[in-house]
């Protein structure tokens, strides 16, 4: 430009040529800077714009991580899987990308004919970014849908919980919902602990999660469940339940209650009567409570194992007289009171201890509060705060108060383990760890006497049916036949039967409580009292599980003589 301007010989030149060129260059530089700035501003602006765009990562209100989050596998005490995660494809649609809704509906229904046409059409039309069509399908169906080639239809891999043991450990495990969140049992407990947080943070993915080890032994659990199912048909019972506990660590080895449900189909849990009778059922325990009363009285020092009690006449309270079921009508020694399950004798024993001391002893064994346990399905027991004379008398043989079978097994464990209360747990725990949690409720001497009494009842008393099946395993326990209240009266035809036991009593390891609800006689020669059903069931159970738990049979009678208290030898 400057060169051209020079060529035309301007008439007036105020500036020198060099200066003119200089200012021209400066102007060009300014324009260039402006141009570059605009360029940068454009690029920067676009960057900010891109930064502002929020891509929708959620799937119907949940983050993608939460959908794909997995749960840790649950193992039994021997490492056998009780719950695992499987990856399953779930079908979703992006309605705003679907071109021909009608075509998509028709094609999808060829593979998934159970979807309603109307519902599917509504689901696929509209401008939404993500809708589920059907969750948790099989890989075969995924293949077929992919082959249809519908635009805007795709799959996402979800984690689904699977319980290989089906019904067997249903009440322990609980179940999960379609979003893989625990809704019952130990699954729910795990969520309340830590996994929910991990899932939310998106960390709970893949196989990296450490498995959760339970205290349950699946072999024992299977035998227990098998025996309970057998009891349902054998005695035409309406329900049966059982729980087995390691008396030193408080670990629950097996826990089952039938009727139960299949955790793989959580909807089956909603059927009536499938509740967990061990933790969330409370019952009048009946005569199995006599063991508690006698233990309390012996421990208080008010009675001794050599004492005699007058059971010739019923105990009168105003208009009521409490008498015995199979009365001996004579003076009974303490072991006889236990052996013949004498109501009168038990009342006298409780009275010797004093009703307030008796009530305090029940509190010491935590009968008036919920058991500290992992399962969320728990009920508060009903034990009167203060006992009247009559109330204390009936409570001494297990009527007029309601507790869960879990309370009973925990109490029995404390009675035979040397007198230490240990709260049950579903997680693995060793003895050293448990010892820090021990609460002394009985003296070891009383515990020794209780072992003897329980074994005596198996040898000579109502537990003999049990002992016949479990020969050699030195098992012993107490029967309890609790009459049910029908229309405000105790009914003698409808009963709830219990058998609370421990084995091997020369060196006890396990406590068991078995319950059979409204059993009928197996055959005309048998009865409906607890020894016939809950008792024999326990016997068969011990016979099968004792070898699994490393308890060898021993027919040596010296073992039984050895546990007789010195005062009675």
């Amino acid at each position: 430009m400057a060169a051209l301007a020079e060529g035309h010989a301007p008439t007036i030149a105020l500036d020198g040529a060099r200066k003119q060129r200089g200012s021209l260059t400066q102007a060009r530089i300014r324009w260039m800077i402006l141009g570059v700035l605009i360029g940068f501003a454009l690029v920067g602006g676009r960057l900010i714009q891109l930064g502002m765009v929020e891509t929708d990562q959620t799937i119907e209100g949940q983050t993608r991580d939460a959908i794909q989050a997995s749960r840790p596998p649950i193992l039994d005490r021997n490492g056998l899987e009780m719950a695992v995660d499987i990856r399953v494809p779930s079908l979703y649609a992006e309605p705003r990308r679907i071109i021909d809704v009608e075509e998509a509906v028709q094609k999808l229904r060829t593979v998934l004919p159970n979807l309603s046409e109307e519902w599917l059409r509504n689901r696929l039309s509209g401008d939404r970014g993500f809708v589920w069509v059907q969750r948790e399908l099989t890989p075969a169906i995924q293949d077929q849908v992919m082959r249809l080639g519908i635009p805007g239809i795709d799959f996402i891999t979800e984690s689904k919980r699977f319980y290989p043991a089906m019904n067997e450990a249903a009440h322990i495990l609980g179940s999960t919902n379609v979003d893989n969140q625990g809704i019952a049992g130990i699954e729910r407990h795990m969520d309340s602990e830590s996994i929910a947080l991990l899932q939310e943070l998106g960390l709970a993915r893949g196989n990296a999660l450490t498995p959760v080890e339970l205290s349950v032994d699946m072999r024992v659990q299977h035998v227990l469940h098998d025996q309970l199912m057998d009891a349902m048909t054998r005695y035409q019972a309406i329900a049966a339940a059982g729980v087995m506990m390691d008396i030193y660590t408080g670990e629950i080895i097996a826990l089952a209650s039938v009727p139960d449900f299949n955790p793989n189909e959580p909807a089956t849990a909603l059927v009536k009567d499938t509740f967990n009778r061990i933790t969330s059922g409370i019952f009048e325990p009946g005569s199995i409570f006599k063991t508690i009363t006698i233990a309390g009285a012996l421990d208080s020092g008010a009675v001794r194992v050599t004492d005699q009690f007058d059971a010739r006449y019923g105990v009168r309270f105003g208009r009521y007289t409490i008498s015995d079921f199979h009365g001996k009508n004579r003076i009974l020694s303490l072991p006889e009171v236990y052996k013949y399950s004498s109501n009168i004798g038990t009342i006298r024993i409780m009275q010797a201890m004093g009703k307030d001391n008796f009530r305090a002893f029940l509190s010491r064994l935590k009968f008036d509060e919920r058991v500290a346990f992992e399962l969320p399905e728990m009920r508060v027991p009903t034990v009167p705060n203060t006992l009247s004379e009559v109330g204390a008398a009936t409570a001494s043989f297990g009527h007029g108060l309601s507790v869960s079978p879990l309370h009973m097994v925990t109490a029995y464990a404390a009675l035979v383990n040397g007198g230490n209360y240990i709260a049950p747990t579903l997680y693995k725990r060793d003895v050293a760890e448990a010892e820090t949690l021990y609460e002394r409720v009985l003296s070891p001497q009383t515990s020794d006497v209780m072992r003897y009494l329980m074994r005596l009842n198996a040898l000579e008393g109502s537990g003999s049916q049990m002992n016949r099946a479990a020969q050699g395993y030195r098992a012993g326990g107490k029967t309890g036949t609790a009459e049910k209240v029908v229309d405000g009266r105790y009914s003698s035809s409808k009963v709830t039967n219990f058998f609370a036991s421990a084995f091997p009593l020369d060196n006890p390891r396990y406590a068991i409580v078995v319950m059979v609800d409204e059993p009928k006689a197996e055959n005309p020669q048998s009865g409906t009292t607890a020894g016939w059903n809950a008792g024999t069931l326990t016997g068969r159970l011990i016979q099968r599980v004792a070898p699994m738990l490393g308890v060898a049979p021993d027919f040596n009678e010296a073992l039984d003589r050895q546990i007789v208290p010195p005062a009675l030898r």
């Binding site: 056998l80 695992v84 499987i86 089906m166 299977h222 050699g472």
Partner: protein
């Protein structure tokens, strides 16, 4: 001087351009490979989870028990009874000492050609 530097710089920038693009494409290739591998791993993990679940089912006592029951008669198996258990303490003690004098007498008799078994066999009428 300046010209040769310029030429050198131009060639250098062309080489750099080419190498940067080559790098970019190779990284894209690697990324695609990685995505493919991730997808394959995810797929195989899915299959693995199914296999593990299968294995867990097959291993359940509740699955094995009915199979055992079905084949009880054929395999001649039954539930173990208490009497079938034994312990080392239950084994009888070894006899105090072998009767070495009687053994010596026996060996000497055999060496001389008199087998006491022969007498028994003859008595029974067997050869």
């Amino acid at each position: 001087m300046i010209r040769s530097i310029n030429i050198f710089l131009i060639i250098l920038s062309i080489v750099m351009l080419a190498s940067v693009y080559a790098l970019k494409f190779s990284i894209e290739g690697t990324a695609a490979e990685r995505t493919a591998l991730t997808a394959r791993i995810a797929e195989q993990e899915g299959q693995l989870s199914l296999l593990k679940a299968d294995w867990a089912v097959l291993n359940q006592p509740g699955h094995i028990d009915p199979i055992v029951r079905r084949h009880e008669a054929e395999l001649e198996i039954a539930q173990v009874k208490q009497e079938q258990f034994g312990s080392f303490a239950g084994l009888p003690m070894r006899p105090a000492k072998p009767d070495s004098a009687a053994m010596n007498a026996l060996f000497e008799a055999i060496a001389q050609g008199i087998d006491p078994i022969d007498a028994i066999l003859e008595l029974e009428g067997i050869e």
